[in-house]
Amino acid sequence: MTDMTMPSRAVPSSEDIETAARAALARRKRLVVGLRVGILVAVLAGWEISTRLEWIDPFFFASPSGIFSQIAIWITDGTSQGPLWEQVLVTLEETVLGFLIGAVGGVACGILLGRNKLLADVFSIYIKIANSVPRVVLGSIFIIAFGLGMASKVALAVVMVFFVVFANAFQGVREADRAMIANAQILGASPVQITRTVIIPSAMSWILASLHVSFGFALVGAVVGEFLGAKKGIGLLISTAQGAFNANGVFAAMIILAVVALVVEFAITWVENHLVRWKPTPFHEQT
């Protein structure tokens, strides 16, 4: 039994191992963050220097300092179409409205068709056809139909969102567990109660997953709609800058758009985590 008589001094205690592991983990994290910042700085510096030394033409390719001062001007003096915050708000409003209408419609239709086999069989063909039309093309039609105001952008955002959410809600309803439905039925649930307490919760993770991506789609819909023709919004900012050959303006608007998208993304993730509490933690998140 030599194993049993090994001197215990030689074996590191589990505390030591844990401390070492934690230190290694922290080192690695610092390395990753450091490299990320380093790359960003290098790219921006390279870009700035190349334009300063006129290796590339800042007129076409903009420059970090130019983009930065453009954003600063927009913030302090406002844009040609009004204050910057107003543009952001208009785009956000279109996005949120389109998202809400599209999501509610998609969920409602998905549940209705998911619960009714006849409706599903009848309408599935039309939905396939409608879904195969590149949706951005519809933007032109909406601008003709609804004018340059907010309605046409909301409409485009709605169609961008609707099909994604619909498809997921429908699938979610179809995947609802047979035994669970039968269980509810025998426990005394009416069809409406089954839809409310079994079908919708079990489709919820599907629906939430689709909401996540479709908010991005709504933003795309709103911006593309503004791009095609509008009086206000970030999309118009881009198309105005493009029309004036203002490369700095295009990049500046893109950065503003990215910031908006990121903020919204965080908000959605937060909501998601608070809505689906009953789920087991995925393995990779367990420690």
Partner: protein, 285 residues
């Protein structure tokens, strides 16, 4: 030895005359049409009578039609021919007096234990306060009082089955249908759950149909064991089991009489299991 009576005549004598049997299947057949449009018969000329307060077990080879039989009693499926009666009335939809414990997990994963158990009364329009009081009571009876706020995924398989039992028993069913409820549990847990079931059932006066492929489980629990033929299922033989109650599951399996009963029933079942296995092997390419 009159202790064990294979008989097709399962109608209870005079005493039962007043009250109709809890469950009656008279000459029932059930056919399915496969998606390819072919008809297949799952049940054929099926007769079954379960008296009030009786505990009947159904054994038969896998895929013979046991679950189909239970679905007919719930009213979730209709017979193709014959009649299914519950408490003397033809079944025409889900009967509020019926409870069902599923083989797979049929708990609602997004509801806590408390909300799962309260589901039945809430569906049936019992006021919230009363429903939750009742639910707490039933949760305590299955020894899960400390886990009221847990979600199903935080419980072990045996605990989830306890929740399922409480969820079913809270509706105080007159008819309790169970489809291989303990088959997914390990042997020790299963024995505990069987005791738990008998404790919950005794005194309720509920009639039970308990489907299982485990013959020993059937004999240990039942007043009466139905052996089905390999599909299409029909009743091969009915055995009355006269082991005295209350029964203790962890001890009954060493009881001499229990072993004898198992042997006799196994003789009837073995043949069908072999036919069933032969078929799976033939169709298994």
């Amino acid at each position: 030895m009159p202790l064990l009576t294979p008989s097709r005549d399962v109608q209870r004598p005079a005493a039962a005359g007043a009250a109709a049997p809890a469950i009656e299947l008279v000459n029932v057949s059930r056919r399915f049409v496969t998606p390819e449009g072919k008809a297949m018969t799952a049940l054929r000329d099926f007769d079954m009578v379960v008296g009030q307060g009786e505990f009947a077990c159904v054994v038969g080879p896998t895929g013979c039609g046991k679950s189909t039989t239970l679905n007919l009693v719930t009213g979730l499926a209709r017979p193709s021919a014959g009649e299914v009666r519950v408490m003397g009335q033809p079944v025409g939809g889900v009967d509020p007096g019926v409870g069902f414990v599923f083989q797979t997990d049929a708990l609602f994963p997004w509801r806590s234990v408390l909300d799962n158990v309260a589901a039945g009364p809430l569906y049936r329009g019992v006021p919230r306060k009363e429903a939750y009081e009742k639910a707490r009571d039933w949760i305590a009876r299955v020894h899960l009082a400390k886990f009221e706020q847990h979600y199903p995924h935080q419980l072990s398989g045996g605990m989830r089955k306890r929740v399922a039992l409480a969820q079913t028993f809270i509706n105080e069913p007159k008819i309790l249908l169970m489809d291989e409820p303990f088959s997914a549990l390990d042997v020790q847990t299963r024995t505990l759950m069987q005791d738990e079931l008998l404790a919950l059932w005794s005194g309720t006066g509920a009639s039970v149909v308990f489907v299982t492929h485990d013959l020993e489980e059937a004999v240990a629990l039942a007043d009466k064991v139905y052996v089905l033929t390999a599909g299409p299922a029909t009743v091969k033989t009915v055995f009355n089991v006269d082991l005295p109650r209350p029964r203790v599951m962890s001890e009954i399996r060493y009881d001499q009489h229990f072993v004898e009963v198992c042997k006799v029933i196994w003789d009837a079942l073995r043949e069908e299991v072999q036919i069933g296995q032969q078929r799976t092997m033939d169709s298994g390419h």
